[in-house]
């Protein structure tokens, strides 16, 4: 499989395809990282997982469509940058909090960080949404699947039904978010009494 085929496979696939890439370069990446930066194997694994997620993110968002270098070179380049950023901040290698790292590097915009409290309320609302809504909007907004792809993946009658369902799910999510905000406001007011 050439480099562009790997990219295409990840773009059209899901977690299974991502897992195949993970396995393919895992050993070589970890050996290189541990030797090059003298970090522990566990820290190396954390960095490798984040590297694979960035690779995945760039493909899904259409930022990476063709590679002139190999996938391996690309992954090593990203891994090196994660380590350097870590070392620059702390002057020594410290374990990465992966979930915090994901928010700061994949979600927040450089000049517009999402307020942690507001983000927490959005996550709470999402956790209350339930299935199949959660899966549907994740396919659309995270995996960047098209409506026809979602129609097939989730067995909807036709694309119009899938699109309507997506709009209904988002309306429900907005309502849940409003409720979270109201509860939060009530709690703050209650505490200040």
């Amino acid at each position: 499989m050439n480099q562009d085929e790997i990219i295409q496979k990840i773009k059209s696939g899901g977690q299974t395809e991502l897992g195949l890439v993970y396995e393919e370069y895992r050993e070589e990446f970890l050996r290189w990282l541990v030797k090059e930066f003298n970090c522990s194997l566990d820290d190396g694994k954390d960095i490798y997982q984040l590297t694979i997620l960035i690779f995945h993110d760039n493909i899904r968002l259409g930022k990476l469509e063709h590679l002139v270098s190999s996938v391996k070179t690309y992954l090593f380049g990203i891994g090196k940058n994660i380590v350097k950023e870590n070392l620059r901040k702390e002057k020594r290698f410290i374990p990465i909090s992966k979930e915090k790292w994901l928010k700061e590097n994949l979600i927040d915009e450089p000049t517009n960080k999402i307020d942690d409290a507001v983000f927490e309320r959005a996550k709470n609302a999402l956790s209350k949404l339930g299935q199949p809504c959660q899966r549907l909007i994740e396919l659309f907004y995270y995996e960047k699947k098209s409506i026809p792809e979602i129609t097939l993946a989730m067995n909807y009658k036709n694309p119009e039904t899938a699109k309507n369902q997506k709009c209904k799910c988002m309306a429900r999510l907005r309502k849940l978010f409003d409720e979270e905000t109201e509860q939060n406001t009530f709690a703050i007011n209650h505490e200040s009494l």
Binding site: L18, Y22, L30, T73
Partner: protein
Amino acid sequence: MNHSEADITLVEKYFDAELNDAELKNFTMRMESDENFKSLVEQEKVLIAAIRYEGAVSSLKYLEDLESKLQKETPLSLSSGSRKLYYYAAAAVVGITIAAAVFMNTLKDNPEELFQAYFTPYPNMFEAATRSNESVESKRTDAFRAYERGDYQEAASLFKDLLKDNNEAGMLLLLGNSNLILGNIKEAKENFIALNKDFDELDMQAKWYLSLCYLKSGETEKARAILKELGDTEISYATKARELLEKVN
């Protein structure tokens, strides 16, 4: 807060990239003049961010589970020292030597494979891609951050723009790297030639990457000339350059 159905549809279409020109104009105007509408847009942005975040966390969990499974099936140990390992290693060296000899012969005729074997993007050593609230700095931060995240298309576009007003060696080196990765070999060559010509710093890096550009475009004679020059020095690239020169010959 209550919002009209029309506003919700407009916002949904914006985030789904479905707005036509007239709708986009309306959207931009509303964002500038209507705080209630702006708050709806901000809320939608946060909700989509939460969906993306949970998706990323779910993928992370999948990789963590996979890693646990792999560690059980094929434990990866980076420590050495056992006698058994020594014999395995000795056997591996023989195997690798034979494989390497075959590989080197292939490489001698194939600049593309040599390029693949030797090219690694230069890391961002120049700027912390930290967040800033200063709008003047934001494009600069965006550029370095895009480079670090491997979004070379975005990085190249931003670096190119930034270099128009502020010619910096580090940015030029990373622009050249971005172009090289994207396959814009002609632009990459121009970047490295300019870096070598216009600055007193990073000239060895510029020459190394220029030699890789020539290798990529099949101009092996030009690549050899630069590699020979680098190999004759005592800088950090010298060993790599001598090794690569041997293979290009």
